[in-house]
Subunit: 220 residues, 2 copies
């Protein structure tokens, strides 16, 4: 399954890195931005399920950032971290369109619970993807071809999910790396190629995944 994607925007690098590490331990793909401007860039370019946003940011303030995210076509949910647990702060954040709040200092497990809660609410793509005789049922993490079940490993399923939801468009190996692994993945790896190979084997004949010379894959 495609992992949940989270962006952490926090200027204190110690906090940011600790958060990122903790979330990654949970199998979440995490990107980090140490200031608001970078955060906004990443939020615009990539697609995240949840954006964890420190309210007190140097440069571009968390409130402004939040508003921009909400106004953008992005569907990301925003979890705002506030310094004090004041009710007024919460209300302000609410008005700006954040989806949840957490006052520092917080318990990591509580943060985790909320991130998952938000991720679950995230507008989910259709539960069942279909392409030709291929069917991918997200809820049961199962794939079948011509009514025959095809057992897949995690990354294989992730790749197939991305390719199928691309609706026939070409997806570069690099995009696959970002979405199924995360942005910190070694750019020189050929893990994608290997996984595509194994995926093709399991899916059998006739071939479903097409290679586009010059760097990309697609399912027509």
């Amino acid at each position: 399954m495609e992992p949940m994607r989270v962006l952490v925007v926090e200027d204190n690098s110690v906090v940011a890195d600790a958060l990122a590490e903790g979330l990654r331990d949970q199998g979440i793909a995490v990107d980090v931005a140490y200031d608001g401007t970078t955060g906004l860039d990443k939020a615009m370019v990539n697609t995240y399920d949840v954006i964890i946003l420190d309210r007190d940011l140097p440069g571009l303030h968390g409130d402004a950032l939040c508003q921009q995210i909400v106004d953008s076509p992005s569907t990301s949910r925003v979890l705002m971290l506030t310094a004090a647990g004041l009710v007024e702060e919460r209300v302000e954040g609410l008005n700006l369109g954040a989806d949840d709040y957490l006052a520092k200092p917080f318990d990591f497990s509580e943060l985790l619970a909320r991130v998952h809660a938000l991720g679950r609410r995230s507008p989910s793509t259709p539960p069942v993807l279909t392409r030709g005789d291929l069917v991918l049922d997200r809820a049961r993490r199962s794939v079948s071809r011509a009514d025959r079940p095809v057992p897949l490993a995690r990354k294989e399923l992730g790749i197939l999910e991305v390719l199928m939801s691309a609706e026939g468009a070409v997806v570069t190996a690099e995009q696959l790396l970002e979405r199924v692994w995360d942005e910190h993945a070694d750019p020189f790896t050929n893990a994608v190629a290997v996984t595509i190979l194994r995926l093709r084997r399991k899916l059998g004949e006739p071939p479903v995944i097409e290679t586009i010379a010059g760097g990309g894959y697609r399912i027509p």
Copy 2:
């Protein structure tokens, strides 16, 4: 969809009525009790998805009421309102079986979010679940396989209940943690794995619970 059913138990009638009104605005069916005894009566007679319970009640104390509700065959979730945000209060409440807590003063939207979160996990599901030769009777808290009774411990039953009501969908270990334990549970525990193991043993052959590599269980 059937509306969510909520009971508010709160002695301050101003607060109680405000809450009720706010919840009704959200399309929730709300009953109100202004003291613990009445609250208990209603809780026993009707079926609620969520019971919002003021801890500090005249007459029958909130703690006692909570315990009675939890011990009863009712499947209602309890959201306890505590006066102070003291950690001790929170821990006590959870030990008594409350599913969540909220410290006064609270933001209404936060209360709402939590009520929905709790309600989501307490569907007014059928009283008897069936899957293959497995039968789970919620009211009697009993399980049988191929007409043979299978005695189960509480957590085991909880897990089985979640899996059976998932209708063949995959449930992640983490979702099980949230629903069978509570949302503040230690995310690094392997309690789920152990309980699944014991559950499998008691259920015998052939295996009912399938493991989906990549983090999940299901009953096909």
